[in-house]
Symmetry: C2
Subunit: 223 residues, 2 copies
């Protein structure tokens, strides 16, 4: 039951910076959007979560304010902590054996990038292929195709497994070899990267594979 | 890879009725919408399907026309055939051990009924619970809650497993017993019925559970 909005989790983060409540909330919202709200194990959202950010002000009396380099540094640091915690949730996902970054680039909007990324991240076929270490480009391309992007030009789409291009010009990259794909799929962590060829927006989400143990943990939790 | 729009399938249906091409297409569209386009195994749409309906006209020279009782009877018969074929696809779904009807009633629109039905039917947590024979009402209610229905009043929602009410007034039905739930979940075929308490629209979809064999079939298909 992990697809935050947020996850089944309680996160507590503290800083000794001085920041006003509103500026601190802005900092936290930015961090959470780029971390806890970008992970999914199975698409099933949980029923109770919280992420709390506390600023004591012990470090200095003057509050940091948006626009200041120090405020931006604080935001970057809080985001870094949130990303690390969020990724840890995925790594600890039910039955997870591989950690997958789904990066969607060259979208016309952030929304469509997320739509494609979550369709891939939730596809049981993609997730079982990742579990099997199977570089099944057709399943990834099919997920892109069914993501509901209006007037997507499949000819312009390129898909990479880490550094290996597997799809371009509407089909399997002619230079792609199965050995290259399997080399990437043998890794514990890998990136499925999709270039939509429609714009300059980009988003990424983190997910894991779908294994026998996912079924076991969620089917036999009472036994 | 089964969630039609349509499924990975070729369906051929023939009748000796006389019907014009346009009226036959209308008949087929109605039938397909109520059958092949209401099933899902895993949410992953397939890449090639077809459902072809042929009318030879051998039975009688005069074409049936919409509004006629005979045309409606033909539509009902074609729909019945399509439903039987569509349900057979689900029963034959990868690793399927249980056949599940998800019926959503009292919706404000057909679209929101389908939204709720597919969210339940695609929920890995609901599907693994069905595999386990586990009457986990919380997972079903959580799926209803995250289906994205605007201003849903959870207090008005009721959920049944076949004849057994499991959720009402926003939580577990006080009269519900685990024994009742397990009796239903022990069946090979069952209905998850959700009453939204918002209107008079209704839709149903058919799906199956998520088992070890789903993972096996989709992860080890090359070995």
């Amino acid at each position: 039951m992990i697809r935050p909005d947020m996850a089944t989790m309680l996160a507590f983060i503290a800083t000794d910076a001085a920041v006003s409540p509103a500026d601190l909330q802005n900092c936290l919202s930015r961090a959470v959007d780029a971390s806890f709200n970008r992970i999914t194990v199975d698409g099933d959202t949980s029923t109770n979560d919280a992420c709390v950010l506390v600023a004591t002000g012990a470090a200095a009396p003057d509050p940091l304010v948006p626009g200041d380099a120090q405020y931006e540094a604080l935001c970057a640091a809080v985001t870094e902590v949130c990303v690390e915690l969020a990724q840890a949730i995925v790594r600890d996902g039910e039955g997870a054996t591989r950690f997958v970054t789904v990066a969607v680039e060259q979208g016309a909007s952030s929304a469509e990038c997320l739509q494609v990324a979550y369709t891939i991240a939730h596809s049981p076929l993609v997730k079982t292929a990742v579990f099997a270490g199977d570089p099944n480009w057709g399943r990834i391309l099919a997920a892109v195709g069914r993501a509901g992007i209006c007037e997507l030009d499949l000819e312009a789409v390129r898909i990479y497994l880490d550094e290996v291009c597997i799809v371009r010009d509407g089909g399997r990259d002619p230079d792609y070899t199965e050995a290259d794909g399997q080399r990437v799929m043998g890794r514990d962590e890998l990136t499925i990267r999709v270039l939509l060829g429609r714009g300059t927006c980009a988003e990424q989400v983190w997910t894991c594979d779908l294994s026998y143990d996912y079924v076991k943990i969620n089917a036999e939790y009472r036994t």
